[in-house]
């Protein structure tokens, strides 16, 4: 048996990637996911820029997780400069973060994944055949975007988030309105769970090392420590022990591995590592979806995103309660004292769980307040090695299928990871060898 699959630019993912599989006489010769995004060079471009610019520049790494990049960037600068945040700032940061998680997960579930199960090429035909589903998706997504807009001005490239706090605040009336919309949204969340519980998720298991942030008191999205499902836990400053980026000649982004050949980050890793801290309604959703940690089917990363939607809606309702009880105040961003920076400059690491997994920014800042160095570790880079390892196990299991069915299985696997390839700040160019 000889089969060749070459999916040039996988569609319905963010950024550019190719799937290459070659089977000769029943033997898998090639099995790769090539990242062919143009190199972005953000880390090099950050050097010499004022620390206050860093989050404005790095939010442009990714249109989907720009609030996440902003958050990691601000936390890196704040940790470097020793800035303490107020309770209100912490609450508003979490609220806007939930808005982004919801927006991104909804986009992925409804617009990128669901079309595969309904046998269509995009969400567009569903507007005619499944109008209620599409309207629900748009309604929920609009609410997610409105949360971001109320707090930070807009979702893609947030404005009001700055080192030490915010430069604009939502009114109590805006927050109350969002809260009542979130409460109404519970029906839509239930409908989303019910829909996803009926989807025939492909059956495939491959255990791996699941890596996420973790916090003692809450389901971690911002700050915390790095936890792995193999029992390791370490402070974020030691991220390189886990992310451990390495380059491979054949393809794709800088890859990562920890104790195994590869590791997985994202909703499924968070679910596996921090299940106990999910809101009860999210646990209910997990039960309906048949998810119980530890889940080792990577296709179910999308289902774990559904669980997180339920969690974030409930947590956003709670956060707004807390902000309103405290009373929303105009607070100047916490002061930064550059005079404290020594001759060697200062360094800080910021970490958060963006929709696709752990995101790390590390900055070095000089006495003049300008960055002297930067490193950004992107979740999709961390996942590419695991995705390829999955493909290598999956392909022999499905190689009797017709090529079109194999293609779909592989594309669905790539989409399950929700890769955000344009986000891969540092990626490799791939010269594809001509296959004879």
């Amino acid at each position: 048996m000889t089969k060749r699959i070459d999916i040039h630019h996988v569609t319905r993912v963010e950024g550019h990637g190719n799937i290459v599989v070659n089977i000769n006489d029943g033997v898998v010769k090639d099995c790769r996911f090539d990242v062919i995004e143009t190199p972005r060079f953000f880390e090099a471009m950050l050097r010499g820029r004022p620390y206050l610019d860093a989050s404005h520049i790095t939010s442009r790494i990714c249109g989907i997780c720009s609030t996440g990049h902003t958050t990691a960037s601000l936390r890196a600068s704040e940790n470097a400069l020793g800035v303490e945040l107020s309770k209100q700032t912490l609450l508003l940061r979490k609220l806007v973060f939930h808005g982004e998680i919801l927006d991104s997960h909804l986009l992925h579930i409804y617009m990128l994944v669901v079309p595969d199960f309904l046998g269509v090429g995009s969400v567009i035909p569903l507007a005619t055949t499944h109008r209620d589903v599409v309207l629900r998706a748009l309604r929920m997504k609009k609410l997610a975007g409105d949360i971001c807009a109320a707090v930070a001005g807009r979702h893609t490239h947030p404005i009001a988030m700055t080192v030490g706090g915010f430069t604009h605040f939502p009114t109590a009336a805006e927050l109350k309105d969002l809260q009542s919309q979130l409460i109404n949204c519970r029906t839509d969340v239930d409908a989303t769970v019910d829909l996803c519980a009926t989807l025939p998720w492909p059956q495939f298991e491959r255990d791996t090392e699941y890596v996420s942030l973790t916090k003692p008191d809450e389901y971690a999205f911002i700050d915390g420590e790095i936890k792995t499902s193999d029992g390791y836990q370490l402070p974020i400053e030691k991220y390189e022990e886990v992310t451990n980026e390495y380059l491979v000649p054949h393809s794709s982004a800088k890859l990562t591995r920890h104790k195994r050949e590869s590791l997985m980050v994202g909703a499924l890793a968070r679910f596996n590592n921090n299940y106990n801290q999910l809101h009860p309604r999210a646990k209910e959703a997990a039960q309906k979806l048949g998810l119980k940690p530890k889940v080792t089917n990577p296709y179910l990363n999308t289902a774990a995103q559904v669980v997180e939607i339920a969690h974030c809606v409930e947590d956003a309702i709670n956060i707004i309660d807390q902000v309103l009880t405290r009373g929303i105040k105009f607070e100047k961003p916490a002061q930064v004292n550059l005079g404290k920076i020594g001759a060697d400059g200062c360094m800080g690491v910021g970490a958060c769980e963006v929709p696709r997994g752990i995101l790390i920014h590390q900055y070095w800042i000089g006495q003049d307040g300008n960055l002297t160095g930067a490193n950004c570790v992107i979740p999709t880079n961390q996942n590419v090695g695991n995705l390829e390892a999955d493909m290598k196990v999956l392909v022999p299991q499905i190689m009797e299928k017709p090529v079109d069915a194999m293609r779909l299985d592989l594309e669905m696997l790539v989409r399950a990871y929700d890769p955000c390839i344009s986000c891969s700040v540092h990626v490799m160019k791939v010269e594809k060898k001509p296959t004879s």
Partner: protein, 261 residues
């Protein structure tokens, strides 16, 4: 309103964050009727189908490698109308910050001794490679402006992009001028159309939409200096999104690419 002919429209992306295409998707939340007015034949981020027959091409992202030029020319040959979507395509955008460092240094900083594996060159806007008929500015684009531009294109008109400064938008929103709050802002020389969203949310305009066609550049620099900015600070402000536009000036100053300052 039913159209007998729906123009075929395609979306493409080069070096960018894809945030402008996401803004297009988001604009459909408020204007699902847009889908009845055009036929989208290619939009990789959102659909599997890849049609090669299109009248209007929206291009997001800058050109940052030689090998992308052929793809851009391919699009130009097919499309009757090419629209640059957002700052990266329109101006080069944040990608052009690369100009502030020697190219070899930038490559080595990120990829070390593997730098040769990654093809890149001096970032440029789309119009530096192919003829662009219209640009929708902004990082990201403004949803309402995008809708207004699509409507204009459907009517065979020129998209209504203002050529007056952000200050006009800012006054219409009754914002207190950031200069009165002790901050600085590039609003006086930057193209409006964004509803002054950044000053409204407490941040300085960083000229993501590019400059108006007759900016009073020398006065702008004088005002910034009066507010305590050094020449280095001013250059920093002027290079966030518009390094490609001001690079000639920078090259006559001390901060030439290659000088490593």
């Amino acid at each position: 309103m039913s159209q007998t002919i729906r123009p075929k429209v395609a979306f493409f992306d080069f070096t960018c964050c894809e945030g402008c295409q996401l803004t297009v998707v988001d604009s459909l939340q408020r204007h699902p009727d847009l889908l009845d007015a055009v036929e989208i034949v290619q939009f990789r981020e959102a659909m599997t189908e890849k049609g090669e027959d299109y009248a209007v091409a929206f291009i997001e992202g800058s050109c940052s490698r030689q090998s992308d030029e052929a793809a851009l020319k391919h699009i130009r040959e097919r499309a009757a109308v090419v629209v640059a979507l957002g700052t990266c395509a329109h101006l080069g955008g944040v990608n052009s910050l690369k100009y502030l460092h020697p190219l070899e240094d930038v490559r080595k900083y990120v990829y070390g001794d593997k730098a040769e594996w990654y093809e890149t060159y001096d970032v440029r806007p789309v119009e530096a490679v192919i003829k662009v008929d219209f640009a929708i500015p902004g990082c990201p684009i403004d949803r309402d402006e995008f809708i207004a531009c699509v409507k204009a294109l459907l009517l065979g008109k020129k998209p209504p992009i203002p050529d007056y400064p952000v200050c006009v938008d800012c006054k219409l929103r009754e914002n207190v001028c950031l200069y009165d709050l002790g901050k600085v802002c590039l609003g006086p020389v930057t193209r409006a159309g964004c509803k002054a969203i950044c000053p409204t949310y407490g941040q300085s305009c960083e000229a993501c939409r590019g400059f108006i066609s007759d900016p009073n550049d020398s006065s702008m620099r004088k005002v910034l200096a009066e507010h305590g900015l050094t020449e280095k600070d001013v250059n920093s402000l002027y290079t966030m999104f518009t390094t490609y536009q001001v690079r000639q000036k920078l090259m006559t100053d001390s901060e030439k690419p290659g000088s490593n300052s």
